[in-house]
């Protein structure tokens, strides 16, 4: 695979735009997760705010530093899950993980994953899978904490 297909324009754009960057106010029902990649020292703090009945994601915001893959992935995730029922968000995370661990055999479809589908190529770079997963793991953890 070429470097260009790993680093698609969309990824580089997201890594600069960083949708959802800057943590929203910590008002309940809200949960926050901190995740860290010990290999490179990158980290993310991600906050999910839920709707008042707790049944759906209101919004996701985050802060942290990392490579373009991890920043783009967090940015892409943000737009994708805003307003999504919790169960759907969990299913989405599972699907994302499956694809990223598939070593290129399971692509991310655009209909479900939107811009994040551009991260399909990462699954061929086993050392970078953690970078792409970081925000998603943080969301998974935050949702679990919100229970």
């Amino acid at each position: 695979m070429s470097l260009e297909s790993l680093y698609q324009e969309l990824i580089l754009d997201h890594s600069k735009a960083r949708d959802g960057y800057g943590l929203a106010a910590d008002e309940a029902p809200t949960a926050t997760s901190h995740q860290h990649n010990p290999v490179c020292g990158d980290d993310i703090t991600l906050r999910v705010r839920l709707t008042s009945d707790g049944g759906a994601v209101r919004d996701v915001t985050w802060e942290g530093s990392g490579c373009s893959i991890s920043q783009a992935s967090a940015s892409m995730l943000t737009g994708l899950v805003d307003g999504m029922p919790r169960e759907d968000a969990s299913a989405l995370i599972d699907g994302f993980r499956t694809a990223l661990r598939s070593r290129g055999t399971v692509p991310l479809d655009e209909e479900t994953f939107g811009d994040a589908a551009a991260l399909s190529g990462v699954s061929k770079y086993t050392a970078r899978v953690k970078c792409a997963m970081l925000a998603w793991v943080a969301l998974e953890d935050a949702l679990a904490r919100a229970e």
């Binding site: 860290h36 010990p38 290999v39 490179c40 770079y125 086993t126 050392a127 970078r128």
Partner: protein, 425 residues
């Protein structure tokens, strides 16, 4: 037991060293309990790695590092599978000695207040007891002796019967409410008898004690399922099971490893390092500081794949046959005193014995001159030899690659020892 079905000629052809000569005779290698020979497949696995993929693992994004990391983690899964365990339950060590020291020092570190809050459950208080057996290899004795000396814990010993079986009444009286650790060999490297793991684990569990199994002499010779045995920790050495030197494994139950403080500290086992304080990764990485034995892990995986290719049931059946031939043969030679000559015990193919009137060193020299390599000395089990009233013995130990014919050569040579040294009839 049915006669062996192994194709020994084919197996022996896989071990280049076995075609050597020793002092002008075809080599009869009966010292596998000290270290085994390595099949070409193990040598090739290491060499191939070094020639084609060599890179440090778990560190860095380049393709080589990623490939090396994958091979390394595949090796972990393979070796873990060989002992019935999940990959996360297998910690690489530089050998069984290192693994047993890891266990003892980690408990010492918990005692010094290190590790996670949950590590406190391993902390020793003065008067707490550590239990080993009289049959221990020094590697499973000295770490506990030193831990006891450092912490004020008391070391106690399970006795062994004259016939080499463990004295379970002694075990029942030694293991009690103050017992915190029960460490014992699956198979002693002098007696060759398979110990009653289930009974000892049950006693330890009743006492709330941690169990530590020294599986050095069982892992190469019989099917092993460590989780099924119920032990908390277990160790084995790669070089005794057809694998490389400087390589071994520590198996740990998930909940035990999760709470145990680290032992060796350094790179690749941390999350965050501050100048004054640091945080550690979960197991197994928590226990794997520094650059790992990458090529050796790949070599050890090749070794257990080789053993699995034969089948551990078949390996064990073959070795049981060899053992019987050896033991019965030795029993019939005048002036031979076997250590641990219990009838009916489960065994690996290993016999330690004394030749009455001839020092073990002299007897060993006699066999060496005939091309037979056995081990003489205390076999790192001084207390056990003292228990049997001797300082040294001779030990012949076989592995999957030995033949009936080699056992017969051993027996023939042993019959000649006393005559040569002018002792006996």
């Amino acid at each position: 037991m049915s006669s062996t079905t192994l194709d020994l000629a084919a197996i022996r052809a896989d071990f280049p060293f076995l075609a050597s000569e020793l002092n002008g005779h075809p080599l009869v290698y009966l010292d596998s309990a000290a270290t085994s020979q390595k099949p070409q497949a193990v040598i090739d696995a290491e060499v191939d790695f070094l020639r084609t993929t060599n890179a440090a693992v778990h560190r860095g994004a380049h393709t080589l590092a990623a490939e090396a990391t994958e091979l390394f983690e595949d090796a972990r899964a393979t070796v873990a599978g060989f002992v019935g365990a999940q990959p996360e339950s297998l910690v690489w060590t530089s050998g069984a000695t290192a693994g047993l020291n890891l266990a003892a020092y980690a408990i010492g570190n918990a005692t010094a207040g290190r590790g996670l809050p949950a590590s406190a459950r391993f902390a020793l208080r003065p008067g707490d007891e550590l239990v080993v057996t009289e049959t221990e290899h020094h590697a499973n004795l000295l770490p506990w002796q030193e831990l006891a000396a450092r912490t004020g814990a008391v070391l106690r010993h399970i006795a062994v019967h004259d016939d080499g079986t463990l004295d379970l009444e002694s075990a029942a009286s030694v293991i009690g409410p103050r017992t915190r650790v029960v460490a014992f060999p699956h198979v002693s490297n002098v007696l060759g008898i398979v110990n009653p793991v289930a009974e000892l684990v049950a006693m330890a569990r009743d006492a709330g004690a941690l169990t530590v199994l020294d599986a050095c002499q069982s892992a190469p010779h019989l099917p092993l399922d460590l989780p099924a045995l119920g032990v908390d920790l277990a160790v084995f050495s790669g070089h005794k099971m057809l694998g490389p030197y400087a390589m071994g494994g520590l198996y740990g139950r998930a909940d035990v490893l999760a709470d145990l403080p680290p032992f060796l500290v350094g790179g690749s086992m941390i999350t965050r390092v501050g100048l004054d304080e640091s945080e550690y990764l979960p197991p197994p990485q928590r226990f794997e500081a520094g650059t790992q034995p990458v090529s050796q892990a790949i070599g050890l995986a090749a070794a257990v794949r080789y053993l699995d290719g034969i089948g551990m049931d078949a390996v064990h059946a073959h070795e049981v046959r060899l053992e019987r031939r050896m033991r019965e043969g030795l029993r019939s030679i005048p002036g031979i005193r076997l250590l641990g000559d219990a009838d009916g015990a489960g065994r690996v193919a290993l016999c330690a014995f004394e030749v009455e009137g001839v020092h073990a060193h002299d007897a060993g020299q006699f066999l060496d001159a005939r091309g037979i390599a056995v081990r003489v000395g205390h076999h790192c089990a001084q207390p056990l030899h003292r228990r049997f009233g001797m300082t040294a013995s001779m030990r012949a130990s076989a592995a999957v690659y030995n033949t009936d014919g080699e056992i017969d050569e051993l027996l023939d040579a042993v019959s000649g020892i006393r005559g040569f040294f002018g002792v006996g009839a």
